[in-house]
């Protein structure tokens, strides 16, 4: 065993202490999610033209980030977990972008 052997990973500056998130935090997250659900439903009945999808998806993304950070504890995890989650979503965006650019450019110049 070297002197740097650190199975709990506590000497590592990347270490994140295990935290128990309190019901108060969960309650605030719950209220936030309900309020933004109300906002997104209300916004759907207002004609914003092309911004209706933009607003709806922005609110959905915000809610998803809140769920990931608090309900799924990512805010309190080590950098390894944070990077894993971020890498997954980033890869997903890359795949969407590449597939979409293929479909957009297939009939390039034919319209």
């Amino acid at each position: 065993m070297s002197e740097f052997h650190d199975p709990s990973n506590v000497l590592n500056p990347e270490h994140a202490d295990h935290q128990i998130i309190t019901p108060v935090t969960y309650g605030m997250v719950f209220l936030t999610l309900l309020i933004f659900t109300g906002i997104t439903v209300g916004a759907a009945y207002v004609d914003l033209g092309i911004f209706n999808p933009v607003v709806a998806l922005a609110i959905a993304s915000f809610k998803a980030v809140v769920v990931i950070l608090f309900f799924m504890h990512v805010k309190y995890q080590s950098n390894l977990i944070k990077l894993t989650v971020a890498a997954g979503f980033f890869t997903f965006l890359v795949l969407i972008t590449m597939t979409m650019s293929d479909y957009i450019s297939r009939a390039w110049g034919l319209w």
Partner: protein, 258 residues
Amino acid sequence: MDNAIVATRPHTHETAVAAEHEHVVLPQHRHHFETKEQQREAATFGMWLFLLTEIMFFGGLFFAYLLYRNWYHDAFVVSSNQLSIPLGAANTAILITSGFFMALGVWAAEVQKKSLLVLFLVLTTVFGVAFLGIKAVEYHEKWEKHHIPGSHFDVSEFINPPVNPKTGKLTEKPLAPDMAQKTQVFFFLYFAMTGMHAFHMILGIGLLFWLTWRANRGEFSAGYVAPIENFGLYWHFVDIVWLFLFPLLYLINRHPGY
């Protein structure tokens, strides 16, 4: 070649007199992990890797929606208006509530309160089942209106929209027959996406029964939180999928003019 084995696994007092060296193995600290912390982080890491494959899986469906919505926009607008916003919004609230109780369940396991944990798991299940109940009502309405893609699909309502008795105007913009057929693409994606989401919930509810039974035996109220925590990650992930399905299917094609 016996020596090779002896060299790597020397015969020790521990292996010779195993009975004297009974280890107390806690489920939160199994023998192949050096510390509890290491085991917990490994489990969280593994669960997230699984969820990333789920993102890719649902991502394919979301991409199909994105593409076909651009191709057959008029058909998507009209068929999206067939969905009930009040039912969809109620289901969103129900699912968020279910996720809230799941989060509280993780807290109850962390602070080792057994009866609270069981209560929260039961509440999570109840709201999950309520969500599926409303989904079933919605599916049944589509069945009655022949809006399930296939040989019995009925496009007449999209070609000849009914007149609103109050305003005297058509309730929808009429579609040309070929575009009206494309409403089937919307409903196919609607059933594929919400169906796959509902399938994940049914699996989750099955797991919840199993976890509630184990929680009731006290398995998760003595420091072993990982099954509750990792199931929570799964349940919240399923919530997130719905948080995107709801605006995409129900909301963004609303057109208040009609």
